[in-house]
């Protein structure tokens, strides 16, 4: 479990880290119909479409690449055991909960804060609910997604080793009065 729980509420957006998010990396051939059936049965959700997130941080799946999913769950050890037992063929399951950091970003300027650091079109007509995008934020590899519930609510994950830098970066990018109010 990550011991650094950060929170910032004095900028244009609210930045916080959830207490704990179970994350399991699953690498397998996501074009194989038997693999798809097994994953959907074990996790209890439909396989996400390309560059989409399905569910949420307590129970969800994100599309990482044509052969990789990130599974969000409450108990990553149990989830990894279930996947290891229930899948067949070539696959890899790894509990990465301690290797990744999650940030929750809330506020109507969140698109502009992210757009400062990522080469991504974050306009509301292009970046849609449940879109999940792996990219960079400044010089840090991240993935972020837009919540299906609210257009002002985003999540972001990065490697745990750079979470302090990521937090400082987000705080700086969301300083009061620093947004162009363009998006």
């Amino acid at each position: 479990m990550s011991e650094f729980k950060r929170k910032s509420t004095d900028g244009e957006i609210e930045i916080s880290q959830p207490d704990f998010t179970g994350m399991v990396t699953l690498r397998a051939d996501l074009a194989n119909s038997e693999t798809i059936i097994n994953i959907e049965r074990i996790i209890g959700l439909k396989l996400p479409e390309k560059r989409k997130l399905i569910g949420d941080l307590s129970h969800g799946m994100a599309w990482m690449s044509p052969d990789e999913l990130l599974v969000f769950c409450a108990d990553p050890a149990a989830m990894a055991a279930q996947l290891n037992a229930g899948l067949s063929g070539a696959f890899l399951v790894a509990d990465v909960s301690h290797a990744r950091a999650v940030f929750l970003l809330q506020g109507d300027g969140v698109r502009e804060v992210l757009a400062k650091g990522a080469p991504v079109d974050l306009s509301p007509e292009v970046f849609l609910p449940d879109d999940f995008r792996r990219t960079r934020m400044g010089q840090v590899a991240v993935a972020f997604w837009m919540s299906g519930q609210s257009p002002d609510s985003f999540g972001l994950i990065c490697f745990a080793s750079v979470q302090e830098f990521m937090f400082d970066w987000l705080v700086t990018a969301s300083k009061k009065g620093s947004l162009p109010h363009y998006l």
Binding site: S65, E68, T135, R136
Partner: protein
């Protein structure tokens, strides 16, 4: 600034999300080859003015390697295609021929 489309995840992004991997479709000479062949494989890269085929990796995205065809003079991108091939796809060759009628496929 190059705008590349990753053929695996479909993302179109500028080149800072990618990483160039050098000349594409070269034959690897390793164990069993002589020094001249290995030197040629390792160092003697083509660097033409005009149509080039390159390897790129979507390093900040899905992480996959792919191929890109572009013009080294104008930076125009003709297309990107799968890494699981030893020669450019027919689709990208027809795009290049339409855009550069003088260009010939070299063996």
């Amino acid at each position: 600034m190059l705008l590349l489309t990753c053929p695996y995840c479909g993302v179109t992004a500028e080149e800072t999300e990618f990483h160039g991997g050098g000349e594409a479709h070269i034959k690897r000479f390793a164990g069993g080859s002589d020094d001249a062949e290995f030197t040629g494989y390792l160092f003697e890269k083509k660097n033409p003015r005009g149509v080039v085929f390159e390897r790129w990796r979507h390093v900040y995205g899905c992480g996959k390697w792919f191929h890109a065809a572009r013009c080294s003079a104008t930076l125009e991108i003709f297309g990107t295609y799968s890494a699981q091939t030893v020669k450019p796809s027919e689709a990208v060759i027809s795009v290049i021929q339409a855009r550069r009628p003088d260009w010939q496929v070299k063996p």
